[in-house]
Structures are given as structure tokens and as C-alpha cells.
Amino acid sequence: MAKELWKGNEAMAEAALRAGVEAYFGYPITPQTELLEYMAREMPKRGRVFLQAESELGAINMLYGAACGGVRCMSSSSSPGISLMTEGLSYIAGTEVPVVLVDIMRGGPGLGNIQPSQGDYFQMTKSLGHGDANALVFAPSSVQEAVDMVYNAFDLAEKYRCVVVILGDGMIGQMMEPVEMPPERPPLTEEQRPDWALRGAKGRPPRILTSLNLTAEGLERANQRIQARLAEIRKNEVRWEEEMTADADLLLVAFGTVGRICKSALRLARQAGYRVGLFRPITVWPFPEQRLHELAGQVRGILVVEMNAGQMLLDVKAAVAGRAPVRFYGRLGGVVPLPDEIAEQVASLAASLPGDGYRPARNGHQGVAPVVASAAVKA
């Protein structure tokens, strides 16, 4: 199939349509609004449900209702809207119904701005609202990856009866890239509906879907069931990408678009003689901790780069478990770190490392190569 140029938000919407999404509920918020608008245009054409809710509270609870019917459904929002959705997400996780949610993160806290950010990492990976709930969270670094993630998210949500989040930043939503769209899948048939779905108690006992469980033992059992599913996810779904880690003695760790910018930074630092590799978590929950732990045993130092004040950093430190020094470089408020500044941080990390005095491998060339404009940032 030929590649076409797609804007991230619209590409994700089209991917969901092709995956057979039957209902979309949302509320406008920059920088994800084009996803909602695309759904507003395209869903009715295919006889599917689009509804603009009165708020993100409304949207997430409409999603909750649709999901209780065993319907393939999704919503999308950006950070402030996601904050409002967390109540519903906790209920959805507690009720064990599948939904897909796209979060196109923007700068915070508060109203913040509409620039790209990774400030929702804690919000999406640590807990979905109250209680012990987690989502399967994917962090795309390109529009193609975002498309593939959305396309596969429904099957995963249904398999594990969980929330699947595509956690992108404003760049993923807004930039245009060549994309190969996956083939169109037919929507679920009545026979394919799950055996817990509320479809009317015709010729069978009624079904109940609730997150309420008043006895401590009962709720503990429900939690254990949820945790067992999350353990399955941890076992089966952890994904990451590595670049030039084989000979690396320094390691960049970054997710999403920052992971991609780090690829350019890596090339700059390599040109300058640093043997640096890149580790990019593709699932940020579950976090690819085991592989990172292994790599930490091989490198002299680790640099974590994020567009926040150091959120994934905690997961990195836990995975590294003291095997290597971990440094953090973060930009805030929607400022995007550029390859050359990251490469400088690599050099500064290398210079700070204890021991025999680290020298770049290339003959005598200290410091960093001149600034090279990066395609990833321009895109």
C-alpha cells in the first residue's frame, strides 16, 4: 500500500475507523481537536456513533456506557481533559470494560499551554484516578507508530478488559508524516460481543457491570483479578526500541517524540566520538524495566530526557537500581529539547563520570559537533 501524508490526529482517527471503532465520544481541546473533528465528519458516513459531550466527564462516562455494551469505542483528549476523565477511567478499570483513549499531552500544570509536553506520564502510568488501576500505555514517536498503536489497541483492550492509552504529545497530534494505513476491518457482529456485555437479558439471566464491591474480601478478590490481568500484560506486552546499544557505554533513555529527537542527538554525539546508545520505551506502562536493568549493567552513565520535570525518571531509576549513574535533562512548559542540547548533555554526563577520565573515542575531538538541524524536530 502506498504511503500518504497524514496529520497525526487525523491519522489516529482513521486508524480507529479502520480498526472497527463503533462509537466515539469527546470534547474539543487543543492539540487533539482534529481527531474529534475527523470523527465528527467520518463516523456518521459509516453509520457509526459520534457524539460531542458536554465535558470530558460526560465523554468518559458515555464511553463507559458504550463499553459496558461490549461496543468498540474510544475517546481522545489532552491533559486538562484527561484530568477530568480520571474519575471515569478509575470506574472503567474497576468494572473491567475495554476502552481506547488517546491523550495528546500539552504543557501544564493548570491550563498551561498548547505546546507539546510529556507532563501526563504520572497521570497515565501511575494510576487512573483513585484505586489501584493501570492502563496499558503506548507512547508513539511517529505518526505511523501512533496509527499502528491505535489500530491494535482495541484488540488489546478487549483481550485484557482494560483501558489502552495512546500517550502522545502535541507533536504527534499536529505533525504530518507519510503513513501506510492499515486495512479496513469490519465492526464486531452481535455474535462477537463479549459474554459480559449488557445487550438486554433476552433468554438469559441479567448481567451486571459495576465497580462496587462492599465487602473487603470481595473487593480484594476483584482487585486480585484485575492485578492478575495486569500481570499478564506485563508478561506479554512490554515493548521498547534500542538503537546502537551493542557497543554503548552511555545510554539515552527517552519516550515518545523525545525518543525520536534523541536519535538525532545520538548521531551528533556519535559523530563527536561518544559511544552512546538509545533506549526508547514503547510501552510506558508496563515499563520495560528488565531490559533497561540489563543495559544499565553495561553502560557508564545514563541520561534521561523528557518534556517534564522528571517523571519517567523514577521508573528509570527503579529499573537501573543503582547499577549506573542516572542524569536527567528536562524541558518544561512545552519547550522541545533539541538534538544539539541533548548531545551537549551527553558530553557533560560523560565528563562528569568518575574513574579514568572519559574521552571520546574519535581522535582528540572533545565536546560536541556543530549544531545540525534535525529532521525530527522540523517535521
Binding site: E54, M62, G65, A66, C73, A201, L209
Partner: protein, 265 residues
């Protein structure tokens, strides 16, 4: 010695749309009675097998255990949004919410107003007992002026704590609402009227005419600190003057339905 039941006429039985369990409601509370009216309406309309109930957060949180239909439980106040998600994706189903006054008229005001505004084909059973029953009798938006609750211990002062909210009146002005009435269950005549209204409300949904909402004045003897009989009397004496019974919105297309339910009584 066994009795031959076949020679007797059954005049009263548990509706099929109610499960065979005891409810957890306090003695004298009229939630159970209202459940029965809803169940009778469902039976009479023959819609049990395609009905989905959305329970609230409040005393009726376990309503899904009592209605013999598919059911779920919404976050506090969000039942109309959840019901919207169900109904929009399964328009052939009959979806109703059953909500208290804290649920619908405080935390969930936005959800119900917009569901009504969109003319969602939902039926809303709105139980007004002038307080937050489940959490132990705090002030609700419907608490009467001067009424003592655990969170208005000196009596509700409207200047500080607002005025009682008249939900039926409020919803009735929204164009998407097709049928909005207020009823009470403080005596038999009113119970019968409530039943007819609930049945009409479901018929409105079956015909796809828009949102139907039946506000029911309901007793809470435990938190009102009254006997069940005193509580019923208090509905009539104290609540009805503030929350007048009546039909607040009967869309033109609904009028023939009300005639049918009235004739059937």
C-alpha cells in the same frame, strides 16, 4: 394438606422485572415501592428483555440487584452520560437511569441537563427525598428552606446554602425533554398516578420521542427522624407545597400516550 391454587385468581405477585431478593432499604423508605412501580411498567410494556438499568451512587446504588434486567452502576451523577453511551450504541434497547437528588441535582446537574438538551431517548426516574440518604442525611439541593440535616444543623438558610432546586421545572424548559412530570408516593392515589407516569415515560422512549423524566417525591424516615407514616405525611404537608405535583412538559406527540396509560388504569 395442600391447597389447589388453580381455582384462585392471582391479584398480586412479584413483577418479573424484580429479582427475588430482599432490598437493603430502610423500613418505610419508598425507594422499594418506586422500584416496584418501575418493574410493573416494564412488565406491562413487555420490554424486560431489552431493558438496561443504570444505577446511581446513592441509596439506590444496588438497584441493579433488584431489577431483573441487565444493569450497571454509574459514577456519582454521571448516569445520564453513561446511559447516553448505552442508548446511542444500542438504540433498540430501553435504557433508564434511577437517580437520587444529590446524584442528579447536585453533582450530576450538567449530565442531566445536557442529556435532556440533546433529547436523549432515555427514561429518568428521579427520586427526590430532600436529602442525601446514603451518606447519612446531609443537605441536598432539594432540602427545604429551614430543614435541619446533618450538614445544615441550624436549618438550611437559603441565603447561605441556596434554595431548594425544582428539577422538573428546570428540565421542562429544555427542548429535548418530551415528558417531565412530578409525582409523589405518599398515598395510594398518588402511587397509582406515579405508576401511570412511569409507564408513560417508558412509552415515550419506546416511541423515540426524547427524554422522559419522572420526579418522585419519596420518603426517608431514617434521616428525617420520623416514623414511616409521619414521613409520608411530611411529603404531603411540607414537600408538596415546595415541589408542586403536576405535568411540567408533555410534548404534543406524548399526549396520546398519556391518554392510553390513563385509560388503562
Amino acid at each position: 394438606m395442600s391447597t389447589d391454587l388453580s381455582q384462585y385468581e392471582v391479584v398480586y405477585r412479584r413483577p418479573e422485572a424484580l429479582t427475588e431478593v430482599y432490598t437493603h432499604y430502610c423500613p418505610g423508605c419508598t425507594h422499594g415501592l418506586i422500584h416496584r412501580l418501575v418493574a410493573e411498567a416494564i412488565d406491562e410494556l413487555g420490554i424486560r428483555e431489552r431493558t438496561i438499568a443504570v444505577a446511581p451512587v446513592g441509596c439506590a446504588v444496588f438497584a441493579y440487584n433488584y431489577f431483573n434486567v441487565d444493569g450497571c452502576e454509574a459514577p456519582h451523577g454521571r448516569a445520564p452520560a453513561m446511559a447516553t453511551g448505552l442508548k446511542r450504541t444500542q438504540p433498540d434497547k430501553i435504557v433508564f437511569t434511577y437517580q437520587g437528588d444529590g446524584d442528579l441535582a447536585a453533582i450530576g446537574t450538567n449530565e442531566i441537563i445536557h442529556a435532556a438538551l440533546r433529547g436523549e431517548n432515555l427514561t429518568v426516574i428521579f427520586v427526590n427525598n430532600a436529602n442525601y440518604g446514603m451518606t447519612g442525611g446531609q443537605m441536598a439541593p432539594t432540602t427545604l428552606a429551614g430543614m435541619v440535616t446533618t450538614s445544615s444543623p441550624y436549618g438550611r438558610d437559603p441565603h447561605l446554602a441556596g434554595y431548594p432546586m425544582r428539577v422538573a421545572e428546570l428540565i421542562s424548559v429544555l427542548p429535548g425533554a418530551a415528558y417531565v412530570v412530578r409525582r409523589s408516593v405518599h398515598d395510594v392515589a398518588n402511587v397509582n398516578k406515579t405508576k401511570a407516569a412511569i409507564k408513560t415515560a417508558f412509552m415515550v422512549q419506546m416511541e423515540g420521542l426524547g427524554l422522559s423524566l419522572v420526579e418522585v417525591l419519596s420518603s426517608c424516615p431514617t434521616n428525617w427522624h420520623m416514623t414511616p407514616v409521619e414521613a409520608l405525611r411530611w411529603i404531603e404537608d411540607a414537600m408538596v407545597p415546595v415541589f408542586p405535583l403536576g405535568d411540567y412538559k408533555v410534548a404534543e406527540a406524548v399526549v396520546p400516550l398519556t391518554k392510553r396509560t390513563r385509560a388503562a388504569r
